[in-house]
């Protein structure tokens, strides 16, 4: 399985994501700088890491979504390639139009940094295949702008089409319908605010995040 992690100025989870991908797939990902205009050939997965790219200027993810590399990421996503965006990566995917909705300031205005309970709403995606539907897992969140917002019709469509993959099982940030992670209509692009890459081995306090990468490995080889 050939993977890449896109690095933006201000990314700070890029190495965590790289370690998770290396540990689970056995091969280190290619690190791609945001100013690159091409992605390496033959990628199975493109991962957009957490962080505070461009200092969250204008809106979280707004500047990164217009980075040179994003044209290639959008083309790959539209071609069916798997794309994972975690935290700031989710914000970038939404700003780039690859996922609907927007991530706004947390309803409580606080930066939330702790492990939270999530329920797996859809275990039929490549990203969630190693979880059971309805299972409760715990993953860390660390964000100020994770309050998912979309109009009612979009929310209804996301729920009706099974595109909500993870939900908060406790109050976290005011997200509409407790949405923590969604996929695009093709099911090949996932954005999520919690950090699976931060829980891939027991030394980190748990392995609930590891299964996301294991599912991708099984699905994408």
């Amino acid at each position: 399985m050939k993977t890449a992690v896109v690095v933006f100025p201000g990314s700070n989870c890029d190495r965590d994501l790289a370690v998770a991908l290396r540990e689970v797939t056995g091969t280190a990902p290619v690190m791609v700088w945001h100013r690159d205009t091409d992605l390496p050939a033959g990628l199975d997965l493109i991962a957009l890491p957490g962080g505070f790219s461009y200092g969250d200027y204008l809106r979280c993810g707004a500047m990164s979504a217009r980075s040179p590399v994003m044209a290639a990421v959008i083309a790959a996503a539209n071609d069916g390639r798997a794309v994972l965006g975690v935290c700031n990566g989710f914000q970038i995917l939404a700003e780039a139009g690859l996922l609907p909705g927007a991530l706004m300031r947390n309803a409580g205005l606080d930066f939330v940094c702790r492990d939270v309970a999530l329920s797996v709403a859809n275990s039929q995606t490549a990203f969630s295949a190693r979880y059971d539907a309805g299972e409760t897992i715990r993953l860390p969140v660390a964000h100020h702008d994770g309050n998912f917002t979309a109009d009612a019709a979009t929310l209804d469509r996301l729920e009706g089409e099974g595109r909500v993959v993870f939900r908060y099982a406790e109050p976290v940030n005011g997200s509409a319908r407790a949405i923590a992670g969604i996929v695009n209509d093709g099911g090949n692009v996932l954005g999520m605010m919690p950090h699976p890459e931060r829980l891939i081995e027991a030394a980190q306090g748990g392995t609930d995040g590891r299964r996301l990468f294991e599912g991708l490995l099984a699905a994408l080889g």
Binding site: A62, R66, M104, R105, N106, A107, L109, N147, T149, G174
Partner: protein, 76 residues
């Protein structure tokens, strides 16, 4: 020429920052403050001959997120 772009949250979009500002004003003793909404003002210095259509294009491409924001343009 100069353009000013005023970006505001769409009606109905929760604005926790605006609400906090409202609460702070109440705490300072200002009575009668209703809903508070926070937005952004972006000032652009443009080459002569730039049109409103040019600024609209900039708003759609970057300056405003149509999912959550409205904008209006003032040319000066």
């Amino acid at each position: 020429m100069k353009a000013r772009v005023i970006v505001t949250l769409k009606p109905g979009v929760l604005d926790p920052q605006g609400r906090a500002i409202g609460n702070a004003l109440s705490g300072l003793g200002f009575a009668g403050v209703g809903e508070v909404r926070q937005g952004k003002l972006i000032e652009l210095d443009l080459a002569d001959g730039a049109t409103t259509a040019d600024v609209h294009a900039m708003c759609k491409a970057l300056l405003a997120n149509p999912v959550i924001e409205n904008y209006r343009i003032e040319l000066a």
